[in-house]
């Protein structure tokens, strides 16, 4: 009945995207192994990309795959391998009593609140867009043209600000890595006594 109302292809695409997204997200929070969590994250990201294509956001779907699945998840995997933490976290033990119950309760309340908000509010006001002057969103290369026009005219200042943000992030990451290395070298040279308590705590565990 649902498929008759909306057409088989669209319902099938939505079902595929929903399945990929939900199964991948559950995999991220359920698997104990960080590498498996990263692979589940890739599954979710592909599902989100499918949902983007189904909603005429073709360019963003490509960016989702290239930037998220291609760069961010690879960065995650690189750090997992680099730190050698690809071992089980031990999710059986629960240090805080009732943490999972309370967290599940909070998540359910959040989702129920969001759905209630969406169901009760009239968010389609009939207002047309400023940037495209009410022209409907285009598929394919037309979407790239529309998005590019919006980014380089209406949102030009924000676009330039992201350039500064990326430079700051890169410099910050380099500084974080370098300063820590230098302090380690000093600690090894002088073996300052302030490190002793932390080492003791570490060995006690």
């Amino acid at each position: 009945m649902i498929a008759i109302a909306y057409g088989w292809p669209d319902v099938l695409v939505f079902a595929t995207a929903a399945l990929l997204i939900v199964v991948g997200a559950l995999g991220v929070i359920a698997t104990r192994h960080p590498v498996h969590a990263a692979l589940s994250l890739i599954m979710t990201l592909f599902g989100v990309a499918v949902a983007f294509v189904a909603q005429s956001a073709d360019f963003l779907a490509a960016v989702e795959i290239i930037v998220y699945a291609g760069a961010i998840v690879v960065l995650f995997l690189f750090v997992i391998m680099f730190l050698g933490v690809d071992r089980d976290e031990g999710t059986r033990i629960e240090p805080l009593v009732g943490q999972r119950t309370l967290a599940a309760l909070g998540a359910v309340i959040t989702v129920a609140g969001l759905i209630t908000l969406m169901a009760r509010s009239h968010w389609v006001t009939g207002a047309t867009s400023v940037s495209t002057a009410g022209v409907p969103l285009a598929h394919g290369s037309g979407n790239v043209r529309q998005l590019g026009t919006a980014v380089f005219t209406t949102y030009l200042f924000a676009f330039e600000a992201t350039a500064a943000l990326l430079i700051i992030a890169v410099v910050g990451a380099v500084v974080l890595a370098r300063r820590e290395q230098r302090r380690d070298a000093e600690d090894e040279a002088t073996s300052s006594p302030s490190d002793a308590p932390t080492d003791l705590e570490g060995s006690e565990r």
Binding site: A25, L75, L83, V135, T162, L166
Partner: protein
Amino acid sequence: MNVPAAWYLVLGAVLFGIGAFGVLTRRSALIMFMCIELMLNAVTLTFVTFARTLSDVGGQATVFFIMVVAAAEVTVGLGIVVAIFRRRASTSVDELSEMKG
């Protein structure tokens, strides 16, 4: 005819809830970052859905900027995780309790 926008909005809400549950329960800093990515993706999905519903490409432009900010956030966040791991040999957030009063 496309499926109604409410389906995608509910999907985004569910994804956000799963990500929030993960942030609240997992103790590995790396997996908490992945759950934050899940929540960011839920928000981008909602933005794209509203962009389609309102025929406004501004929602998609916002998602573009969200992705840039997410990339910067992951870079700095993983840098901090690596820096902490060098000092503590652990990525568990339960062991970072020096600022407890």
